[in-house]
Amino acid sequence: MTSAMETVGGETADMTTGRGRQSTSVDHLDLLESHAVFIMREVAAESERPVLLFSGGKDSAVLLHLAAKAFRPGGFPFPVMHIDTGHNFDEVLEYRDRRVAELGERLIVARVQDSIDQGRIPDPGPNASRNRLQTATLLDAISAHSFDACIGGARRDEDKARAKERVLSFRNAFGQWDPKRQRPELWQLYQGKVQSGEHLRAFPLSDWTELDIWQYVHREGIELPSIYFAHRRKVVERDGMLLAVSEWVEPGPGETAVEETVRYRTVGDATCTGAVRSEAVTVAQVIAEVAASRISERGATRADDRFSETAMEDRKREGYF
């Protein structure tokens, strides 16, 4: 059977030249990887219609890589879905389409713009952040495709509400998370049964930190969108964040656009995701930068978390990722 794991969608899984670990010891990244693979297989086996959520960011890039580890030489037992706010970085869309094509998997794109055009959600205007609006599009897509499990790349170290969330997180028929009524989740017994209309969110990267993600990207040689590495970009400083000047972000009164050397720590809606000043052009340099950082990932880059003390919890209660 050794010849069976052949080159799959451009990823060399050659049995003779692969990493081919023969060691009997298991390090920290091996355990995280193994556990994530275990979770994906459980979710795929226990749910009727799972889907993997893919934004093109680093966490979902790791998720796709882990899905290949879990299910090759077979195809993925789920499609890949992107919730598209319409406020994208070109580099990320290009990366998304290429990665999914390389893997030979099916991509579903659910567009916030379609939800606006259909009158499902009010039009906030062309330049407003659509981060929160994604929730309506996501819930509509879940219901249209009858998905009962959404595998996402959220990590517990990102936010104090996420720190509280189970690996399998239950959502009611309205897509809501109720933090006071989470299911007990003991050992590795992930129990994912839901009733019709309800669904699960599954987070295989729950125990990974930002640093773990980068160390794993380094070890596995996972390709990421170029905006994660230092590049020259025209930005405007707003509320202490560097926003890329684009068709949706123009300098306002008193603001000036300047060209800076920056990179992104997270990838989201372009109108609310900030860049950080950085000279890191390699994964190793990014790892050094992340290890020394005194500001959290979302604190540095996400305007959407600054609305209130419990912004993430409030969004999750509405059905957000």
């Binding site: 059977m1 050794t2 069976a4 794991m5 899984a13 049995m15 692969g18 081919g20 670990r21 023969q22 009997t24 010891s25 298991v26 920290h28 091996d30 355990l31 990887e33 193994s34 556990h35 693979v37 275990f38 297989r41 459980e42 086996a45 290949a68 580890k69 879990a70 299910f71 090759r72 030489p73 077979g74 517990r156 170290d157 104090k160 509400a161 720190a163 509280k164 933090p179 006071k180 989470q182 299911r183 007990p184 989740e185 003991l186 050992w187 590795q188 017994l189 129990q191 049964k193 839901v194 009733q195 125990d207 005194r294 959290s296 604190g299 540095a300 003390e309 419990t310 919890e313 409030d314």
Partner: protein
Amino acid sequence: MDLLRFAAVGSVDDGKSTLIGRLLFDTRQLFDDQIEAVAAASERRGVGEVDLAFVTDGLRAEREQGITIDVAYRYAATPRRKFIIADCPGHVQYTRNMATGASTADLALVVVDATAGLREQTRRHSCIAALLGVDQFIVCANKMDLVGWDRGAYDKVSEEIDVLARRLGVASTTVIPTSALHGDYLVESSEAASWYRGPTVLEALESAPAGRWAAVHGSHQGTAARLPVQWVLRHPGGGRSYAGMVNGGPLRRGDRVVVLPEGRASTVSTIETFDGQLEEAPVGLSVSVHLADDLDVSRGDLIASADDPPDVSTRFEATVCWFGERSLHGGDRLQIKHTTRVTPVRVDDVHARLDVNELHLVPVEELRDNDIGTVTLSTATPLATDPYRRDRITGSFVLVEETTHATVAAGMVGRPELTDVEDPPAG
């Protein structure tokens, strides 16, 4: 670098979240923006100085009430090792969440209010942690500043913990006098308790054996290799491999195995991951295996070493932590999830409840919410089980309500082992 997973447990208001917040702050694990956010939230809620409990109490309802509702997971690293911390709720209503946090821990950090001694809920948490196989306790005799660092208060906590630990088979206990509020003996030693010569909390956490959960499930005798089948991988050109995570002991190419519950024998012909083939798969690794014989193997089956296979039975005795809102009675029908198999289960008998204060089993007819007790279960299909003391994976299960799919119990195969303990020496 190794990894220690620990759970902070104990009664409500004894200072767990404050202690974890302080530990993270003093070891510089908090980002500047997180510290600013905690300070702002403390000011907004008028709780005076920076309330470090807000580091982990991140939910709106938690901050309103000043309590912990659900487990918060935090990730920390010192030059010595990495930590995954589960800050568990103390309130009796949220015992299920405490059990969730403790089920994957190598060590329990038991926080006790030294002005009050061990409360019932401290005892309940200690019992659950010990039954879950957590056999190392670091005990913080906390709020020592409120009793003027009186040695008598510390000694009382030590004696009570000692009896409980010996009765429940906890191998190692370290009792440390602390003030979470002021940080004494957390990261830095202190002059406050001139009579205390032991380690700080951080020193104790850094020197405790790590990886018990990940490496050797159940730190007791251990078993030979087991592989619960999660998923069947079909290979182009024919052939199937069986995917799952290795537990019990390492699985080697050429091992003689049995496929349970049916019991057909075969040999492991190859072990592989996406990255290549392995001669030996250590415990905790997700792999897929090919067998030499063409057998019917599907999800829910267990591939086990033929040398030391688990018991196969439709009837077994177990210890359960009951989390249902209704009571559990003999005759009740539920679903059981054991490894990767889900099957209907009937409760034949409820035998006894563990009295967490007196630490003995009391005969009862029913188990109420948050009770720990012993039952006999019958399953619709046979299960391949090991006693929980030997294997945390093949010895554990959850019970699920058939209609709501709510998880209502955590179960461990076998009865609790309670050691006879003589009265503690006086003084």
